[in-house]
């Protein structure tokens, strides 16, 4: 047990400061809805992540937002286990046809007001997989999308900045 505490103290606090995006950055993220978000979710964002067909690359980087260097939770961004608890659906992947109904049901199960963020090139525009007999392509082809975060995959910093952009007065 001593070793554990020794290592914890030696490691110290490694969490880094993240700057909230300025207005130019916000614009590139396409956040027209920021006003509404500020009104409804000030201070906290409950996210349900839905992999709708991703290669798992985006999931790895979404996970990384929770590591001690980014520590997304300090900003009130937290991941919840059910869409019924969520404000935001973070959707990755081209939507595989086998996940289409599941994604629609997840969307319906999320209480309003709700926002959908498409994460990664595949979710934004279909990416490497595009549309086919097996894939619906972009998330917007299946459910309404409010914000997109491109990248293959987007880095945790990009993700965090984009999500901070959704919130008011956090991370400054």
């Amino acid at each position: 047990m001593l070793r554990l505490f020794a290592k914890t103290f030696k490691t110290g606090i490694v969490t880094e400061r993240i700057k909230t995006p300025d207005s130019a950055e916000l614009e590139t993220l396409g956040i027209e809805i920021k006003r509404h978000i500020d009104k409804h979710f000030s201070g906290s964002l409950a996210i349900r992540e839905v992999d709708a067909g991703s290669c798992n690359g985006c999931e790895l980087e979404i996970h990384a937002m929770n590591n001690p260097l980014y520590d997304a939770e300090r900003y009130g961004i937290h991941f919840v286990a059910s869409p019924r608890h969520a404000d935001v659906l973070l959707v990755t992947g081209p939507v595989s046809r086998h996940m289409q109904t599941a994604l629609l049901r997840t969307y319906e199960a999320t209480p309003s007001p709700k926002w959908v963020v498409a994460v990664g090139d595949c979710a934004v525009c279909g990416g490497e997989f595009g549309g086919s007999y097996a894939s619906c392509g972009a998330v917007a082809n299946v459910i309404p999308v409010d914000m997109t975060i491109p990248g293959c995959p987007p880095t945790p910093e990009t993700l965090l900045k984009a999500l901070l952009g959704l919130m008011k007065g956090k991370g400054k």
Binding site: M1, R3, L4, A6, K7, T8, K10, T11, V14, E49, V50, D51, A52, G53, S54, C55, N56, G57, C58, E59, L60, E61, I62, H63, A64, N66, N67, P68, L69, Y70, F79, A81, S82, P83, G93, P94, S96, R97, H98, M99, Q100, T101, A102, L104, T106, E128, F129, G130, G131, S132, Y133, A134, S135, C136, C152, P153, T155, P156
Partner: protein, 530 residues
Amino acid sequence: MSATIAETTTDWSNALLSELETATIQIEKKQGAVPQWLIEADHWRTFAELAHKLDWRWAAGWAEQQAKTFLVNSCFAKQGEYIWLRTTLNGKKPQLPSQAMVYTGASRCERHTQDMFGIDFTDHPDSRRWIKHQAWPKNRYPLRKDFPLQGQPEDVSPSDTDYQFLRAKGTGVYEIPVGPVHAGIIEPGHFRFQAVGETVLNLEERLAYVHKGIEKLAEGRTPEQLLRLAGRISGDTTVAHSWAACRAMEQAAGINIPPRAAFIRGILCERERIANHLGDVGAICNDVGFAFAQMQFTRLREQWQRNQMNMFGHRLLMDCLVPGGVKQDLSNEQIASMEQELAELRSELDEIIPALDLNSSLEDRLFTAGFLSVKTATDFGALGYVGRASGQDFDVRRDTPYAPYDQINTKVVVEEQGDVASRVWVRIKEVFASIRLIAQMCQQLPEGDIVTAWQTPAGNSEGLGMVEGWRGEIISYVRFADNNTITRFYPRDPSTFNWLALEKIVLNNIVPDFPVCNKSVNGSYSGHDL
């Protein structure tokens, strides 16, 4: 430097040949990097029985449509030796005796082939559809040449409600359906549990939710385009899948990559192994509430990924390989900083690992949980750390060494304890082994080019590439048309077999231990579903 796997027949294949002779089964042999044995379809099952008797492992199975016929392939392996078995089927009514009655591990590969090609495996123990849900109609087969890439999908593909799961009845037996959308940040799949009290009586997996048509998308691609796709079969295995696809394509084109490129590929692949092992060991500890390890390991993983960004331009190392070599060279300064990085990682681990080792609450949860016996692992052909924690002493890097592993010393960690703890310890030991391997590769890094110029392969040329990824052996098959484009691509991810093992691993464990059992295997959904 593409490896010549078995130019001449060896004791193992001779023993198999003499068994075949006794059974009066004719084999036509074709020399190649992997020897190809052609056989009559009628003997398909008998061949498997003989191979099984001599302890060959069933390593992969896939099919292909020709003008008027279907080719069906199986790959068998023993002690690092591979045999590529092939038969030709009538295009009108393709039918073949199933090998899954002999090799349980073949079951899902055959169901995959059945759904994608409409090939009928007679006497298959489980002929329910597998990859197909409801996205395309019955009696239509996406990998047939007359099936267009876009298909004719409905506006909304309905959910797959009429799939027949195994049912259990009796006092106190209840069913728990989980997924496809899970509670964590993970890939989608469905798990159907039958439980009594807290104990799992049976688990049935229903996968293929992330089937994206990778095999169909590969058709008509150039080598570069195929690599982009191969790097996204499973995002956590981007290097190893790209490497396997490269080895198959380079074999088909008959080109050897420069020694320096092989070493850099080796460094990339070992880095990928370390990144994934670090993340997963932390996550497994987190699944039993040991947050210390989660915080420490995710911190190390993040630093590791940032260094990858600086050195190779991508945090997950995507698109670092090119046909014939690697995209980017390593400077002497980068080598020096990598050696420094390895020393730092080792000293961090030397402080963290003892804290895990001596923790009784961790021991209490991980030891004996999620047991996989040596016999079950052998039956399924379990791969990577899942196999190696259950006595499967096998590693492509050591047993069928390809450059750079033919020039360095690869030690393989094997245990027989078979529980979650054992899989964790095998992975921790593999991290240390990979640190040593990268250090060796840095020291021995040959001078020279990093790419061999690509040569258009002759029409119809084929390649079969094996690579030891972090999850285990990957086997990739490619065939070229005559204009430098791919006509068939099949990547076999190690998860194909390890998912089967998970159904057994979780038996008699408590339902709340499923996440930790699952994480200790960490099968790829995307790599399996294709």
